[in-house]
């Protein structure tokens, strides 16, 4: 008698839990359909601001394909979440913003659907480099380029004027300017070497002519510890060793404050920099100017990229065709491209970007040629191939260059490349990829 109901209570508790399970399982087992009149709803994971307003324009015109935007944390977290969902077998969105450097990783995890049939014809609407980023040199199309981030140089025009300087055309001039500014006012730096922004360093290496990964037949090759990248590492290591630029990371509260109070008076960044400066250097509005990147060889101007992403359809989507239609519209329709630029504050990858971006960003209101410089930079972008373990190379960068920046020794900068190279190759081999060389 005493024990009679105890198991029953346990069973009831369990039953209550399972009822909950059954109720909220939304029966998402419908098959892929091609019926054009079927109503489908798609989810889109992106971290670009106001993307829901861009999607609203599509939803208004396409009552049968409704897109819901789920805003994500920037960059890595969303990709990690997507990879987890792919491995778990459910939970992934239909559409995903994917940075170019993450696409090989996502493709090798079988996370991105090939949408060549629906989006392949868009090839001519994008710069060759951006398109290569979504095809990885194959016939497949793993997304449509959404935005790009050509490197540009930003500087405090008032400080340059005071020191009798003009925007540096070459890296030699940049070094001279950095030295002069720091000498005139020991508190001021023209820039900092940020050991937490592997993406920027990659862009600088790209500008110098490096391409860290490559495909040789059925094998990957890795070329991080190579002459072009060594040149870049030695250059920044030299500036840090001399003490003419800072060695603290970017995107910290201290760095924000330094931009705002005028101790950081320059920033090697990308086309999207005004959005950041507007937030962190509010009090200096109107004092900044944008310029093309300093060059290694002024006769052959080149630039790299920092950031930039494509919009991809995931392999878990039940409505890949409709998702591909939205992705194509988002990145190539003139109306959408304009909304991307004005609402979502990205620099669209489409060749039409120049024609929709007619007035400069608010933070650079006086610089009428802002987007002309950006368009020029876009054209000068050097080719660069990302591999399937960019995250490993980047975290090796953070570790090795973190110590190098701390030590302020140029030799430590170039030695860090050897560490990065070894870590990246070892990881590829461990993951079972063929590695050439």
């Amino acid at each position: 008698m005493k024990t009679k109901y105890a198991p029953l209570m346990a069973a009831l508790t369990a039953a209550a839990l399972f009822t909950g399970t059954a109720c909220s399982n939304s029966g998402s087992s419908s098959e892929q359909t091609t019926d054009p009149n079927e109503k489908v709803s798609l989810t889109y994971w992106t971290w670009a601001p106001n993307m829901d307003k861009v999607a609203a324009a599509w939803n208004a015109k396409n009552p049968n394909i409704q897109v819901t935007v789920n805003k994500q944390d920037g960059g890595d977290p969303a990709v990690t979440k997507l990879l987890t969902a792919i491995k778990a077998g459910s939970g992934a969105p239909d559409i995903m913003q994917a940075e170019y450097q993450k696409i090989p990783t996502l493709v090798s995890a079988d996370a991105l659907a090939d949408i060549a049939a629906d989006a392949g014809s868009l090839k001519d609407k994008f710069p060759a480099g951006a398109w290569n980023g979504v095809t990885l040199g194959s016939d497949a199309v793993y997304g449509v380029p959404q935005d790009s981030g050509p490197l540009m140089f930003f500087y405090r025009a008032d400080v340059f004027e005071k020191n009798g300087l003009s925007a540096p055309k070459t890296w030699d001039e940049y070094a001279t300017a950095a030295e002069k500014i720091h000498k005139a006012n020991p508190k001021q730096y023209l820039g900092t070497f940020s050991a937490t922004d592997a993406g920027l360093f990659t862009g600088l290496a790209q500008q110098a002519g490096a391409s860290w990964w490559g495909v040789q037949g059925d094998a990957w090759s890795v070329a991080i510890d190579e002459p072009n990248t060594q040149k870049v590492a030695a250059y920044w290591g030299g500036l840090v060793e001399k003490g003419v630029i800072d060695n603290k990371p970017m995107y910290t509260p201290e760095w924000n404050a330094a931009l705002n109070d005028g101790t950081q008076v320059g920033w090697v960044s990308a086309v999207w920099a005004p959005g950041v400066l507007e937030g962190s250097a509010k009090d200096t509005k109107g004092k900044w100017k944008a310029a093309a990147m300093p060059q290694w060889d002024a006769a052959a101007p080149a630039t790299g990229a920092w950031g930039g992403s494509a919009t991809s359809v995931t392999t878990q989507s039940k409505h890949k065709k409709q998702a591909a239609q939205f992705v194509s519209w988002l990145n190539s329709d003139p109306e959408a491209v304009k909304l991307l630029a004005t609402e979502a504050s990205v620099y669209p990858a489409s060749n039409d970007a120049a024609s929709v971006l007619t007035s400069p960003p608010a933070f650079f209101a006086d610089q009428a040629d802002y987007y002309a410089i950006a368009a020029e930079a876009s054209k000068q972008m050097k080719p660069f191939t990302y591999g399937p373990n960019v995250n490993v190379a980047y975290s090796a960068f953070n570790d090795a260059f973190g110590k190098a920046a701390e030590s302020k020794k140029a030799s430590a900068f170039t030695e860090s490349l050897t560490t990065m190279q070894k870590t990246t190759v070892d990881d590829l081999k461990n993951a079972g990829f063929n590695v050439a060389g």
């Binding site: 005493k2 024990t3 009679k4 109901y5 105890a6 198991p7 209570m9 346990a10 508790t13 839990l17 909950g20 399970t21 909220s24 399982n25 939304s26 998402s28 989810t43 971290w47 670009a48 601001p49 819901t68 789920n70 805003k71 994500q72 944390d73 920037g74 960059g75 977290p77 979440k81 987890t84 969902a85 778990a88 077998g89 459910s90 939970g91 969105p93 981030g149 922004d197 993406g199 995107y251 509260p253 201290e254 924000n256 404050a257 705002n260 109070d261 990308a270 999207w272 920099a273 959005g275 950041v276 507007e278 937030g279 962190s280 509010k282 009090d283 920092w306 950031g307 504050s345 990205v346």
Partner: protein, 279 residues
């Protein structure tokens, strides 16, 4: 006498130090949330400013008041999760303390082992399990795992053993009450102070939980405060992190916890005293 006096001075100093250690970060949040984004990292740390209400307005304005939805979500996760967890803990703790059934000690040992496993470790397995039934990215994904609290069951068992005399259960049975009725009208009231403790523990645990919702949820309209605020700091390289909004949001998010502790404090004190007397 002099020894006693000296000792109490040291003790007071230590306690004051401890209090300062706990309260300084709260004070920092309070002061920092009154600064504008330009002042946040440039003016003296402990110098308050006058922008608290501007910051609150900015925070409320972020994507049509999404912050308040996060607050409501957190209240739902913590409130429903803690209430269900308390009920389940009470039932399980009572059954383990007062009934004899085969496998009882095995069940209790498994629960004890569960106390030792940090919840963070379980987040990934729970994700994989819920992904199998397609329930990730729903309210249930965060609610279900918070229903079971091994620590709560353990506490409830101790408390039921100490505060519910077997004679009263027998009296209740002799008077013709079924087990459900006995549990609802006799046992629950007697366990109340202990259950308040269980409720508070679980409420705070869910309120502050980050890992589980971070892994489970992809839709930011389902986020609790913790994950939402973290997102404001990670806007991607081409957007500035919203420090001011995050600091202000953190300040507002602890107000309900403080209110809860103040209202439930009397039960809490009774509980501590009761434990001391009855042990």
């Amino acid at each position: 006498m002099s020894l006693k006096k000296g000792r109490s001075k040291t003790a007071t100093a230590l306690l004051l130090l401890g209090a300062a250690y706990c309260l300084l970060p709260v004070l920092w949040v309070l002061i920092a949330s009154s600064k504008s984004s330009g002042e946040l990292f440039s003016t003296f740390t402990l110098a308050p400013s006058t922008h608290l209400f501007d910051n609150l307005a900015d925070l409320s304005g972020y994507r049509d008041g999404l912050y308040w939805r996060w607050m409501a979500n957190t209240a739902l996760y913590a409130g429903v999760g803690a209430a269900a967890s308390t009920l389940i803990s009470a039932m399980a703790g009572f059954a383990l303390a007062k009934f004899d059934f085969p496998g009882k000690s095995a069940v209790f040992n498994v629960i004890l082992a569960g106390v030792l496993v940090p919840g963070v470790l379980l987040a990934i397995p729970q994700y994989l399990l819920l992904a199998k039934v397609g329930m990730t990215n729903t309210y249930w994904a965060v609610l279900l795992p918070s229903f079971i609290s091994p620590y709560g069951i353990y506490l409830a068992r101790i408390f039921a053993a100490a505060s519910v005399p077997t004679e009263i259960l027998e009296a209740s049975r002799i008077d013709g009450a079924g087990d459900w009725r006995t549990f609802g009208t006799v046992v629950l009231p007697m366990m109340r102070t202990g259950l308040v403790t269980v409720f508070l523990f679980q409420f705070v645990a869910v309120w502050n939980n980050f890992m589980l919702p971070y892994i489970m949820l992809g839709d930011d309209r389902l986020y609790p405060i913790t994950v939402g605020l973290n997102g404001l700091l990670n806007q991607g390289a081409n957007q500035p992190a919203m420090y001011t909004a995050v600091v202000t949001g953190a300040l507002v998010s602890i107000i309900p916890l403080i209110a809860l502790f103040l209202t439930l404090q009397r039960y809490w004190q009774v509980d501590l005293a009761a434990g001391g007397v009855k042990a």
